[in-house]
């Protein structure tokens, strides 16, 4: 039974992750007064890329090919550890969230290496920014999850998110969870390359971060990268949601449905943020991420006062 629920969650993630992208885009379209793209547009784009040929620069080596593959493998395995809607994950053990964070790190390491493999100065620039921002986001994520572990007296993701339920915010740990939600939202935005850290729609190579790193990837390679990014958004969204809106209705299927709706709500929220905010100046981004770490540290102190 446990295994089945884990597999159901993974299948849902694999199928529905691109939909988050279209929810964000539709929300932005509403704000801009446009009709917006069809709901299935991200799927069509992936399908189109898969069918295309691939162009390899003569500078590149095997590292360039390995980047997308390792990236998707790492995110896929991390998904096996992350629960949604209070359901148990496929695999769960104390300290598993560290493995999740480091698996995302593996994907990033290979993607950054692949970017440097092209020898392009733009991609080098993007890679340099990516490693800086992710190095600052990592403490915020891990400290937030540690604070949750201390509040829920459990060291595994499944245990943590099973212990946090609708009653939790009204307890003494409530203010701490409020802070953790803030910190994790910042990490969510930064890791998924959204405004105010990065602009996914920018068309100037000099200002891009994530997009510029994958300039040289094409065809199925690029499809893998896009899909991995969508899965990563699903994954970090589930982590955020479990702390931000732990609604439980007593029935497992309703809980799962609430989780899916919550993920959609997060996507809408991202769309609202992107429509209403400007991007931060690059020099201000580190401060934004450090502030997230600080929120999580304050939360730690509140949980264990």
């Amino acid at each position: 039974m446990l295994a089945i629920s884990g597999i159901v969650q993974i299948v849902l993630a694999l199928v529905l992750a691109p939909l988050l992208q279209s929810i964000i885009n539709r929300t932005k379209a509403v704000f801009a007064g446009r009709r917006g793209q069809p709901w299935l547009q991200p799927y069509r784009e992936l399908w189109k890329l898969v069918q295309k040929g691939t162009v390899y620069s003569r500078t590149t080596t095997a590292v360039f090919v390995a980047g997308p593959i390792v990236g998707i493998a790492a995110v896929g395995l991390a998904l096996a550890l992350v629960p949604i809607g209070g359901w148990p994950a496929l695999l769960s053990f104390p300290g598993d969230f560290l493995l999740v964070a480091y698996l995302l790190g593996v994907g990033r390491f290979f993607l950054v290496s692949a970017a440097l493999d092209t020898g392009s100065s733009f991609e080098g620039m993007g890679a340099s920014r990516e490693v800086l921002f992710s190095a600052l986001a990592e403490p915020a994520l891990l400290l937030s999850l540690t604070a949750l572990a201390a509040a829920s007296h459990s060291a595994s993701l499944t245990g943590i998110y099973a212990a946090i339920d609708s009653g939790m915010p009204a307890t003494a740990a409530g203010p701490a969870i409020f802070l953790i939600t803030g910190a994790m939202f910042v990490v969510f935005l930064a890791e998924n390359a959204r405004i105010p850290v990065d602009d996914p729609n920018t068309h100037l190579e000099l200002t891009m971060i994530h997009e510029v790193m994958v300039l040289d990837h094409s065809g199925p390679d690029f499809a893998l990268i896009q899909y991995a990014a969508q899965l990563k958004m699903w994954l970090l969204g589930s982590l955020l949601l479990g702390a931000a809106a732990p609604f439980r209705f007593g029935s497992a299927w309703l809980d799962l449905l609430a989780g899916l709706v919550g993920l959609g709500a997060i996507a809408v929220l991202v769309g609202i943020v992107e429509s209403s905010m400007a991007r931060l100046r690059l020099v201000r981004v580190p401060q934004f991420l450090i502030a997230a770490s600080i929120l999580s540290i304050v939360a730690l102190f509140l949980v264990m006062r």
């Binding site: 009204a170 307890t171 003494a172 409530g174 203010p175 409020f178 802070l179 580190p286 401060q287 450090i290 502030a291 600080i294 929120l295 540290i297 304050v298 102190f301 509140l302 006062r305």
Partner: protein, 214 residues
């Protein structure tokens, strides 16, 4: 009510951190005004549910002064001196934030050592008070614009106010009047100083006062 008090205290922590990390004067003044509102709510929540008229009056008065009057004066001073940003602080904004978290740890530590047993509401009151005081000091020491220093002074006063509430919960009026008077004098003096500075030097960087040394 302890939960709501905790929420307010956490908001106080966040506004203090905001003061440390922001360079925009207008945002800082708003933050300090927000702190004022929070401070006004603290006595009400502490004494809930038996609120006397006197208590309510004190709360409203302090809210008016701390959230409307003083920020308004500051806003005017900033506008007349024509400054909008703290440009080059002695300690950078990110470093200030990191120092802030160290100060928070320190405040927690200090408050554990304090032999205070009369806290019947929340154990968070004392550390937050100490932390706000520390932040005020840090702002005064590390910022160059006079407006920012006044904001630091206000934060300091806010901390003392919270501290006063932790102890003088029985008869707060004395502490209250003392604090208000203190603030008035401070803002008065600082206001004059800002005005004079901007008139004499066309700037309110207190660094420029160095040139008076000779």
């Amino acid at each position: 009510m302890a939960l709501w008090l905790d929420v307010i205290l956490v908001l106080l922590i966040l506004t203090s951190l905001w003061l440390l990390g922001s360079s925009r004067l207008r945002a800082c003044i708003q933050a300090v005004a927000f702190q004022g509102i929070m401070l006004g709510l603290i006595p009400l929540l502490c004494a809930w549910p038996d609120i006397t008229v006197r208590l309510a009056a004190v709360a409203v008065l302090s809210m008016v002064v701390k959230a409307i009057v003083l920020p308004g004066m500051l806003r005017r001073a900033a506008r007349e001196a024509n400054v909008r940003y703290e440009v080059q602080p002695l300690i950078g904004f990110t470093t200030s934030l990191l120092l802030g978290i160290v100060l928070w740890g320190l405040a927690m530590h200090v408050s554990r050592q304090l032999p205070v047993t009369m806290l019947h509401v929340t154990p968070l009151l004392i550390p937050v008070a100490i932390f706000t005081i520390f932040c005020g000091f840090l702002l005064i020491v590390s910022r160059n614009t006079a407006v920012m220093q006044v904001i630091g002074y206000l934060a300091l006063e806010n901390g003392i106010y919270v501290f006063g509430w932790a102890f003088a919960i029985e008869d707060p009026l004395l502490v209250e009047m003392g604090v208000l008077l203190d603030v008035f004098v401070a803002v008065f003096v600082m206001g004059i100083m800002i005005y004079r500075l901007s008139r004499e030097f066309d700037t309110i960087e207190t660094d420029e006062l160095d040139s008076l040394k000779e």
